[in-house]
């Protein structure tokens, strides 16, 4: 008489969902759509390595530009653009690094 609930959570959902919710008949027989990460999880380590290398490349570019230009030739617009690109790459790279090591932020 005691019903054992099956271990697969997806199939159990269809039978034990409370009937008091506003669920139309047709929708009960359509499997629910699972939510996944926007980026496939297997790509995280490779993606983080790639983005961090790119970010460090642009950081190097930025500092070389600072070191080799004098006060007169320096263009603020160019500096800001290189800094923005470098920080985007480094920002995303560090996010994927955190995710790849298991710190799911």
């Amino acid at each position: 008489m005691v019903r054992r609930s099956p271990s697969r959570s997806r199939s159990v959902f269809l039978f034990t969902f409370p009937l008091s919710s506003s669920f139309r008949v047709l929708e009960i027989f359509r499997a629910p759509k699972p939510v996944t990460s926007p980026v496939p999880v297997q790509w995280y380590p490779a993606l983080s390595a790639l983005l961090l290398v790119g970010g460090l490349f642009f950081t190097a570019f930025f500092f070389i530009y600072e070191a080799t230009s004098s006060t007169r030739n320096r263009s603020l617009a160019k500096e800001v653009v290189i800094a923005a690109v470098a920080s985007t790459f480094l920002g995303f790279g560090s996010l994927f690094l955190l995710l790849a090591t298991g710190v799911y932020v």
Binding site: V2, T16, P34, F62, F63, E66, S87, G102, Y104
Partner: protein, 430 residues
């Protein structure tokens, strides 16, 4: 609704009580006949106040179909307040699928689980003595109806029964004690009996369990279970060093078992395609009355548990209850930590729980994560059924975390630019 009480009568009642563990399971078969003139749409089940306190779960179902194709259809059960129940008896009403007409009969199967009903007597024993417990119940069912015929059978874990109250006719066969059949007992009749028997099964009780389920939309569900385990048998009785089994979903990763001192290495994990089993041993053997506190954590893939419903809301489908098999929990708290930026959280749980909202602060948080807290007392393995937590989430909020990191790095670059452009020399450069 007073008229139906004299109209209905129970023609047969079979009760099977299983007292092999600290959890008492009672299977009740009620054959109800409508002896009155009006239709009856519910069946009442009564409990004495001492049993009602220990009631963990009450389920009812009705069998449909012929012998081979019998299916059990669950019925909804609600507490019903009947003010004229004698001596504070608690009543629960089982709603029938279709009203019972006059002269008709139906069979209702009721299962209820009681906790902490077995009292160790004597309360303190030496290590070599067997553990004896008291079980108190009634030989006749406490019911608002007149019962035409009833039988009660109590199943004990072994043949060793020290003593039991005799309410004729009583018979005992091996490990089964039978009271009945009794005929024509009026409503609310109660004949207390006490059974004193040997129960050497180790009593593992989780006093407090706090489960934290953290949802991260980047692909993982992180769960941390904080256990406070107690050996609830008679004091000084034997050693509880049996392996505890924890049932986990399949595709689990990064499982750890630690306590305040550090990692506990006495554990084994078996993973297969249908389920995972974690076998753990406490750090030290538990004697009667001893406690152990530990934490078990693991990660699960998001797509097995988080879904999107048709109206756009996301929901988590997870199983309530304790993953430790065949153990009861005195106080269970489930905290579902929703990602930052979630709005309108609601929880759909098949049985009554206490709910409230909290804020949790975790990695890269600005406003904090909304947490849905569900609390329940007296949780038994029958509560291991799925529940859902719904919330609204705009995917644009996922950019908040990388944007925070990008702006932090950009601030560093802006500082470099500012340093290069600012003239810090003291004298004028010629």
């Amino acid at each position: 609704m007073d008229s139906f009480r004299s109209n209905c009568c129970c023609t047969r009642r079979c009760l099977q009580i299983d007292v092999t563990a600290p959890i008492t399971r009672v299977f009740l078969t009620l054959k109800v006949e409508n002896a009155g003139t009006s239709e009856v749409s519910e069946v009442l089940v009564a409990f004495p106040p001492t049993e009602a306190e220990h009631l963990a779960i009450l389920k009812a179902s009705v069998a449909e179909g012929k012998r081979k194709k019998k299916t059990y259809v669950p019925l909804s059960v609600n507490p019903s307040g009947s003010p004229d129940a004698p001596n504070d008896a608690q009543l629960y009403s089982v709603s029938l699928r279709s009203p019972l007409k006059s002269g008709e009969a139906t069979t209702v199967e009721v299962l209820y689980v009681l906790t902490h009903l077995l009292e160790p007597f004597p309360a303190e024993i030496s290590q070599s003595e067997p553990q004896l417990v008291y079980y108190r119940d009634s030989a006749t069912l406490l019911s608002p109806y007149q019962i035409v015929e009833q039988i009660t059978s109590i199943k004990t874990p072994s043949n060793k029964v020290e003593s039991f109250t005799r309410v004729d006719p009583t018979s005992r066969v091996g490990s089964e004690l039978r009271y009945g059949p009794y005929h024509d007992h009026g409503p609310y009749s109660y004949s207390p009996v006490i059974v004193h028997f040997e129960n050497n099964n180790p009593f593992a009780v989780v006093e407090e369990l706090v489960r934290e389920i953290e949802i991260s939309h980047w692909g993982s569900l992180q769960i941390r279970d904080h256990y406070k385990l107690k050996h609830a048998g008679a004091r000084h009785k034997g050693v509880f060093s049996r392996h505890l089994l924890i049932k986990l979903p399949p595709r689990v990763h990064s499982v750890y078992y630690r306590d305040e001192i550090g990692n506990i290495s006495s554990s084994h994990l078996h993973i297969d395609s249908q389920k995972s089993e974690l076998e753990i041993e406490p750090r030290y053997p538990l004697f009667g009355g001893w406690k152990a506190t530990f934490t078990i954590g693991y990660g699960l893939p998001l797509q097995d548990f988080l879904f999107e419903s048709h109206d756009g809301r996301r929901y988590l489908n997870f199983s309530f209850g304790c993953p430790l098999i065949e153990t009861m929990v005195d106080d269970l708290t489930v905290k579902v930590i929703l990602p930052e930026g979630s709005r309108n959280p609601t929880a759909a749980v098949p049985f009554p729980v206490d709910q409230h909202l909290e804020m949790t602060y975790s990695y890269l948080d600005v406003v904090g994560r909304t947490t849905v807290v569900l609390q329940k007392r007296n949780v038994v393995p029958e509560h291991n059924i799925p529940f859902q937590v719904y919330y609204d989430f705009n995917p644009i909020f996922m950019f908040a975390e990388p944007l925070m990191l990008i702006s932090a790095v950009f601030l560093f670059f802006v500082a470099c630019i500012a340093y290069v452009h600012v003239d810090l020399s003291i004298g004028k450069s010629s």
